[in-house]
Symmetry: C2
Subunit: 178 residues, 2 copies
């Protein structure tokens, strides 16, 4: 919950785009929809993805009701999904004294990624536990043991390279929220 300038969104209503940037609007539509599908693959509701897409494209914080209007979605869904993303640290709720309404903006830091890394670490741990349970075993189980070692190593490498990707990213010209 940050307090800042609530300057109205660059474009208010969903319709009536200037004829010149019609294709721009179409591209935005595609992008937003694409983010919806992309985040859906990460087990988040599609609307949450669309929210991220829309907010990524919005230079200024966007008002709650405009989100519902622009995405053509019920206020209930906006409420649920903004809170979800807020808790994940992906977006931020912005308010201003004297204005009762809520605004949202993407949070310029990778929040979704930690989830992924954690998942890999969990799998690594699972494989390690299994290896433990194997113990010193009959000859033909050697293959199994080698496989588990492989799994463990693989997830370790993966998680590490993810982490370093995150680090490398932090130093770059900019940060993004996904």
């Amino acid at each position: 919950m940050t307090v800042s300038e609530p300057i109205p969104v660059s474009d208010q209503s969903a319709e009536a785009a200037a004829p010149s940037d019609t294709s721009r609007r179409a591209a935005e539509e595609r992008f937003i929809e694409g983010m919806g599908l992309a985040l859906e693959e990460d087990r988040l509701p599609r609307i949450a993805g669309r929210l991220v897409g829309l907010l990524l494209l919005s230079p200024q914080p966007v008002r709650f009701d405009l989100l519902a209007e622009r995405l053509r979605v019920s206020r209930g869904s906006i409420s649920t999904n903004t809170r979800l993303l807020e808790n994940m640290g992906v977006i931020e709720r912005v308010t201003r004294p004297g204005d009762r309404r809520d605004y949202f903006q993407i949070n310029e830091q990778p929040g979704l990624l930690q989830r992924v890394v954690e998942r890999f670490r969990a799998r690594q741990a699972m494989a390690a536990e299994m290896k433990q349970a194997l113990g010193p075993e009959p000859a033909d189980a050697a293959i199994v043991q080698a496989r588990l070692d492989g799994l463990i190593r693989f997830y370790a490498i993966l998680a590490d390279s993810f982490d370093s990707a995150l680090a490398a990213f932090g130093q770059g010209p900019d940060r993004a929220a996904s």
Copy 2:
């Protein structure tokens, strides 16, 4: 579809494990179930994950009907999911002349990973396309442009580090299929 020794699985029926390795059996159960949940996160049916788990722990190819029996699942599900994993290159169907039945083993190469990398590349492309559509824009859109740049760069780094993880893994002591 490979032709090889179909040596019967180490342990045939699901019940009657030697009392000594009861906890070993429990650990296997946990591991198999864990793989079920893990692959489910990657948008694969849970049974597919359990199959991978079971086959990882099986030094020898496992017979089709034993899979159904061991996982307590219908033959139909086994059929569907083995084919799915087979097409993904995660497992391999093994047959032997003179034996009408099918056996399965995990394929010692990372097949699931390519999917992930492709997803990242796709998102990168999406962001790039959006950036394209933005074109040279009014002042306040600079932020948006920077964000998209960030996204693109981020997914690029991610996919690359995945690839290098795969590469590093390939040279290691062993390979695994997940």
